[in-house]
């Protein structure tokens, strides 16, 4: 047991505990806040593991942006502030599935890595990770820009029903055929 181990166990306990509250809380808003705690603890784990850049990005993007977006969603859908009763399905097999997946994965890892002491690697500073990304992973990085752009445009176009709307709203099928004739771009079948 090194200090790193103790730190990881402590942070892990926080992360898992908060994570458990995220999926069981009856308050929508509180779930979001527990998520912040859990993700923050995971950022701490990254630091212990030596991945500094990932840790900071985790804090900035996840805690800073993603969770805020989620909380916006909670607010915009007029979720009640107090506890809600209809957040969960009947428990059914979900607990079994969740526990099975968690324990199964844990057993798998324990089986593969045992209780072996691994040395702490060189810290994943911004410089190292940057070299990695711009040395090896340039292509997905560039594709990611397209992805982000489409996410942006998609989010806008979905949430603003008035974008690109035309004056006429042709619900009437007769109108549609008239319009088609008007435009004179049809060929008979």
């Amino acid at each position: 047991m090194t200090i790193a181990d103790v730190l990881m166990i402590a942070l892990g306990a926080v992360a898992v505990g908060a994570g458990a509250l995220v999926v069981t809380s009856t308050h929508l808003v509180r779930s979001g806040l527990y998520l912040v705690v859990s993700l923050g603890a995971i950022a701490g784990l990254y630091l212990v593991l030596g991945a500094e850049l990932v840790a900071w990005v985790q804090v900035l993007v996840y805690v800073g942006a993603v969770v805020v977006l989620l909380l916006f969603a909670v607010m915009l859908t007029r979720a009640p502030i107090g506890p809600s009763t209809d957040l969960d399905r009947p428990i059914g097999p979900s607990a079994l599935i969740g526990a099975g997946v968690g324990l199964g994965l844990a057993a798998l890892f324990a089986d593969a890595f045992r209780w072996i002491e691994y040395p702490r690697g060189a810290p994943g500073t911004a410089e190292r990770v940057g070299a990695e990304i711009f040395g090896t992973w340039v292509l997905p990085f560039e594709v990611l820009s397209i992805l982000l752009l489409s996410a942006l445009v998609g989010a806008i176009v979905l949430s603003r029903p008035d974008v690109g709307r035309r004056e006429v709203k042709p619900d009437d099928p007769r109108e549609t055929t008239d319009r088609a004739k008007e435009e004179d771009e049809e060929v008979p079948a």
Binding site: A4, G12, V16, L28, Y62, A106, E117, Y118, W137, L158
Partner: protein, 120 residues
Amino acid sequence: MHVTIPYVIAAALFGLGVYGVARRRNAILVLMAVELMLNAVNLILVTADVSLRSALRGVPGEAWATPNSQAGSGGAFALFVIVLAAAEVGVGLAIVLQFYRVRRAVAIDEVPLDEERVSE
């Protein structure tokens, strides 16, 4: 350090995420559970960097062949996952809001999956 610890934490987080996805009915809560799952994945990736790097130096007692090891890419992968998650949440928020606008609800049980209910 013992990498088993973060790996097991990641496993627990993923299990919690799966439980949340299966149990929750509110779309936003499902999204949160998915975030837990993605974070578990990231934790595995970052931890794998540590275990792989030391394996390259042959530190652990067990000699295991990783001829093509790309140790160090895990952190980069994790960054990609974070960005993917952010993009998804962005669009997901818009979709949930649209759904809410149309149906005044965010409970996904009401998403009709059966043909009978649709054709009515």
